[in-house]
């Protein structure tokens, strides 16, 4: 547990540089931020939509030129308000927060579901030069919701990008976990990175354990303070905002009564994952 400098990471405002529509429900927002530009894959930031809300978002990209981006799925009032924002409008940023994925060498498998693909794309960019093989399994409900397919294909190559859709409109029909068993039987991977719906990640981690492969998963919870104080995001003995959001297989095992099972609502009550 490292010390934290509260004063070093105060809210600052910046303007939206660009907005890109990625799918019918997802938009990417890019802005300049001197601090977040040093973010590592897996870290998140708190995004202030003035007068509306402040929400946690995974960092999709941080470039040398100072631009930082996040992918935002329209799921509620706050994300709807953010989707209505245009280039030039003011937003606020705190962060980056949390730990990051560990960059590893060797044969890498990434499993991303929905907007969980965002931090993995960032990771894939950083891992590409280290990996001897990089296979990316991406899952979505339907073809139109498959995110960042072109960029991923550029990084992994067409052969190592495995797409799944629940309705079968593209790639393999099923969930992101559908092709995993056969992939893991065919190839000996050194590490699996996953981010997406928690039930999916639970399944991925069970498979990783069965095949004896190291795993890191990035979790999402209700966040308020983002600095490890309020307790809104706890999973087992861990605080997702400070001890995570990236957890190893053994940490997830310690928290198995909650990982993929339950979360805390706004009142702090434990409720089943939706």
């Amino acid at each position: 547990m490292l010390a934290y400098r509260i004063a070093a990471n105060q809210l600052r405002t910046t303007r939206i540089l660009s907005v890109k529509t990625e799918s019918p429900t997802v938009k990417t927002f890019t802005f300049k931020d001197k601090v977040c530009v040093r973010a590592k894959p897996g870290q998140f930031l708190m995004f202030w939509i003035p007068g509306v809300d402040e929400i946690p978002l995974s960092i999709l990209d941080a470039n040398e030129d100072g631009a930082v981006s996040v992918a935002v799925k329209k799921v509620g009032e706050a994300t709807q308000a953010l989707h209505n924002k245009k280039t030039g409008e003011i937003i606020g940023i705190r962060g980056p927060f949390g730990n990051s994925f560990t960059l590893k060498e060797g044969k890498i498998l990434m499993v991303g579901g929905g907007t969980g693909t965002a931090p993995l794309l960032f990771l894939a960019k950083k891992s590409a030069s280290k990996a001897t093989k990089l296979v990316f399994v991406i899952g979505a409900k339907t073809k139109k919701e498959l995110l960042f397919i072109d960029k991923l294909e550029e990084i992994c190559g067409k052969r190592d990008l495995v797409a799944t859709t629940e309705d079968g409109s593209y790639g393999i029909k099923g969930l992101a976990t559908t092709p995993l068993e056969s992939l893991l039987t065919k190839e000996r991977f050194d590490v699996i990175y996953t981010c997406g719906p928690e039930q999916m990640m639970r399944k991925v981690s069970d498979l990783a354990e069965k095949h004896g492969i190291a795993l890191e998963a990035s979790l999402e919870r209700l966040m308020r303070c983002a600095i490890g104080l309020c307790g809104s995001c706890v999973v087992g003995k861990y605080r997702v905002c400070r001890d995570g959001p990236v957890f190893t297989a053994s940490q997830l095992k310690e928290a198995k009564s909650e990982f993929g099972v339950s979360k805390r609502d706004f009142s702090g009550k434990r409720i089943p994952l939706g």
């Binding site: 490292l2 004063a7 105060q10 202030w48 303070c225 104080l229 307790g231 706890v234």
Partner: protein, 315 residues
């Protein structure tokens, strides 16, 4: 096992204190509002060395709290307006049960209410579920009709404390707000009504405005300041209270290291609570502070932490 796990230096008698009948292996406690929903989180705080823990404030019915932003990071501490989120006492009793069976340190449940009756009902349920004491939150600065609105009015405060004391048979702590004209008078009222200990202080009413948008940052606009900035205020409050009441005082506000803690003890506190520093230093902050207090006592030749409580009042 009464002592902090795996810490030999913390298990000596020099650090142990008695707080209104509760035995603490060392005088550091987790302040209310920090983590404190879940037993597993509290367990980690105890592993980090806390001599006792105080839960989040709990009320009669569930509360979702305010929309984000609920926190502002500043140069000198944090401003928060969480809005007392909690699952309500009927849900929380499960957590109290579990915590009581798991933790090897005193468990204090923080209680708030929107009426005298609510305070009493929640306190009673918390005690029945296994709480070793309750701490009445009459000092939260950012929720209307409870918290500091109770604590700022000596008449209502008296009613609340008396009513709670009438229905419970374990210690009742009262956590006070610095946002009053005379905290010593408030403390006197609480003690006269039966308070077994006084916790001082809760956060200092505060605000932050974003210059670009000209908007208050917190969704509730006003919140409470915690952290190093409020320590001198808290020290003064503890010092004044010590001169007016006989019950133990729990010092709270901006403690991040042993020297801060010792300062509170010298001002008159029997124990200290730590909150914001859990972010600044991590959950082991309790161990670090307690070890520091111990080293200070040893160096100065004191046999017990009790010998320095209120020592600054000699001069």
């Amino acid at each position: 096992m009464e002592t902090v796990r795996g810490e030999e230096s913390l298990s000596n008698s020099r650090l142990s204190v008695s707080l209104a009948g509760l035995r603490l292996a060392n005088p550091t406690m987790l302040a209310s509002g920090i983590l404190g929903y879940a037993t597993e989180t509290l367990e980690r705080i105890v592993e980090g060395g806390a001599g006792a823990v105080v839960t989040k404030s709990v009320g009669i019915t569930p509360r979702e709290g305010y929309a984000n932003p609920t926190i502002v990071q500043t140069n000198c501490g944090l401003i928060n307006a969480m809005g007392l989120p909690n699952p309500g006492i009927d849900e929380f009793v499960k957590e109290i049960h579990e915590a009581k069976n798991t933790l090897n340190v005193p468990l204090i449940v923080s209680v708030y209410g929107f009426s005298t009756e609510e305070y009493a009902k929640v306190a009673k349920k918390a005690m029945n579920a296994g709480a070793d004491a309750v701490e009445l939150n009459v000092s939260c600065p950012h929720v209307k009709e409870t918290g500091s609105e109770i604590g700022q009015n000596p008449k209502i405060l008296t009613e609340v404390v008396e009513k709670v004391k009438a229905v419970v048979d374990k210690p009742v702590f009262v956590k006070l707000s610095p946002n009053v004209t005379s905290i010593a008078e408030t403390a006197e009222a609480a003690v006269k009504a039966g308070a077994d200990a006084i916790t001082a202080i809760n956060t200092v009413k505060a605000m932050a405005i974003d210059t670009e948008t000209a908007m208050p940052i917190l969704s509730n606009k006003i919140g409470g300041l915690s952290g190093p900035a409020i320590k001198p205020i808290a020290i003064r409050c503890v010092y004044e209270i010590y001169e007016h009441v006989k019950v133990p005082i729990i010092g709270c506000g901006g403690i991040t290291n042993w020297r801060d803690a010792v300062e509170f003890l010298l001002a008159g506190a029997t124990a200290v609570q730590i909150g914001t520093a859990v972010a600044l230093k991590g959950p082991n902050v309790f161990k670090i502070v307690a070890q520091g207090i111990d080293a200070y006592l040893k160096k100065k030749g004191f046999r017990s932490v009790n010998e320095i409580v209120g020592l600054s009042h000699r001069s």
